[in-house]
Amino acid sequence: MTALVESPPDPTIERRRAVQAAAAASLGRRKFASRVWLGVCWLFLGIAVVPLVAVVAYVVAKGLPAWSVDFFTHSTTPEGIAGGGVWNAIVGTVVITVIAVVVAIPVGLCCGLFLAESDGPVAAALRFTADVMTGIPSITVGIFGYIAIVRNFQAYSGLAGAFAIGFIMLPVIIRAGETAFRGVAGSLSEAALALGARRFTIARKVVVPTALPGVITGVLLAVARGLGETAPLLLTILGNQYLQWNPTKPMEALPVLIYNYSSQPYADLVQVAWGAALLLMVVVLVLSIGSRLYAAHLRKERR
């Protein structure tokens, strides 16, 4: 390969020189390209962040003046009558969400655990169904709730709304649960198996507790999702301007109130809608941030 001359040039040194020369020569171009792309990233980041911040700022600016003690403690009043609040909508939203969560969590987490532990055809079908359910337009869920519950029982009710909202939450909880349960290292299950534990015991004592931070985050995100759904409620709970604790009767809920009042020609009702929008946004924000903090706290505690 190398010619037999007095001092053959060392190919390693030659290449090192060539590489370092190329690296130094292209450094300016590489730095420039790096800056350009960093700029592009910042630009798109801005495009994403500006509308987000704008929405939040606008809702705060419009909604905050509506907030008062009465706003949180009184039910809605007809237009022109001062002192109206959203207490009836808060009660409706809380009752409906609690019922929906109580139904959706056990079903959803059991499905999630099953998906995480099994990979047979049933699991594949269930996973596919859950994925499809995630994509179903919420108005379709509303129609389903209307036909399945409202028509059959001949009454609009909070229960029908809870059914519809639970249906919205279910796939989110299933997939969040599956992800969290799958994240538990297989070595832990094996360690429990090797100690003579049965699969149910392993799930109860090892997999579920270990996956808890992820599960809680998933459930709270599902709750946040369910809180804001409007279309399923419009067709199932009807709306109610009076305070109603009984879930078998028509109820008010925050999204429904926002929908109905924001299209009214009366400034005081629109104002209430802005206030309700801000309230809903704050609750969802607190839930999202709180769930993350709690999950982080749990993870830290274990280390």
């Binding site: 590489v19 370092q20 190329a22 130094a24 020569a25 292209s26 450094l27």
Partner: protein, 290 residues
């Protein structure tokens, strides 16, 4: 060769005892300090204000293998990563003291970390060939990152680095295959080839055999010995036998009272293992802890 294999009656071949004595004496002798490639003076690394390792001062000599040894938590890898500014990627990390590559101040304000890293390459614990690239593309990845476009140079570097990593014969007919088709040991040699292709002056190896089986480990160790004439090597290992087998000089680090690692002793490997100056080094190399 032929002369040595047929000893003439006049030249008596040395007895086993004599040759062993000579070997032992050679091991105890200071190897020539030679050219110093990198110097570390009072190097300390802290993460979020907590010192991870400190008081590290030693020289890396050209054409040698320098090993960093010590129990886990003693800061071996942390020191290694300071040598090519890998701590830049960790926001909370601060490196103090001075590290020089020749005349270049590694942490100097005008030092470009990318140019520095093309001169000080690195091989990691686990083989990490780029999964979307072929064997050839993996081998020349560093050259392409550094702006080398000439096909002739790329081809030459690929062949030379794969030969250097003792991988050429087994992959020369399937250079377009994916790196993931190789075995673990072959993947690690591909990573070594990838680092060699840039022709760095110093190659940092962070426990390069910890994820490999004994046979693959042996081949990497042989490779380290073959490569040191081409590139100066600094290797981190938790395996003292490995340090003894492959290195010319050793730096022994130990975790102090306050959980911060520090350099206990630095010297020629033979000396460090046979007659260390510090009693803690003696305890460690005799396997009394760690």
């Amino acid at each position: 060769m032929t002369d040595a294999s047929v000893p003439t009656p006049e030249v008596r071949s040395p007895s086993i005892e004599e040759s062993l004595t000579v070997q032992a004496e050679q091991a105890l002798m200071e190897p020539d300090q030679g050219n110093v490639v990198m110097t570390l003076r009072d190097v300390a690394v802290a993460f979020a204000g907590r010192t991870a390792v400190r008081d590290v001062s030693f020289d890396v000599s050209a054409g040698e293998v320098t090993a960093l040894i010590g129990p886990s938590g003693s800061g071996k890898t942390t020191v290694l990563r300071a040598l090519n500014r890998m701590h830049d990627t960790v926001r909370s990390a601060t490196v103090t003291g001075s590290i020089h590559l020749g005349d270049l101040d590694v942490n100097g304000p005008d030092t470009d970390p990318t140019l520095l890293r093309s001169r000080v390459g690195m091989v990691f614990q686990r083989p990490n060939p780029f999964p979307t690239m072929s064997i050839y593309d993996n081998a020349v990845a560093g050259l392409r990152f550094n702006g080398v476009r000439k096909k002739a140079l790329l081809d030459e570097a690929a062949e030379s680095s794969l030969i250097g990593a003792a991988l050429w014969d087994s992959v020369k007919d399937r250079l377009k295959a994916h790196g993931s088709t190789l075995s673990g040991g072959e993947q690690q040699r591909l990573c070594i080839a990838r680092a060699l292709a840039v022709e760095p002056e110093v190659l940092l190896m962070d426990e390069p055999t910890s994820a490999l089986d004994p046979i693959a480990t042996k081949r990497i160790e042989e490779l380290v010995g073959e490569l040191k004439s081409r590139v100066t090597i600094v290797i981190v290992t938790h395996n003292m036998q490995q340090a003894m087998r492959v290195s010319d000089r050793c730096a022994f680090l130990l975790m102090g009272e306050d959980k911060a690692g520090e350099l206990i002793e630095f010297g020629p490997t033979g000396k460090l293992f046979s007659e260390p100056k510090d009693p803690r080094t003696l305890d460690y190399v005799n396997g009394r802890f760690g």
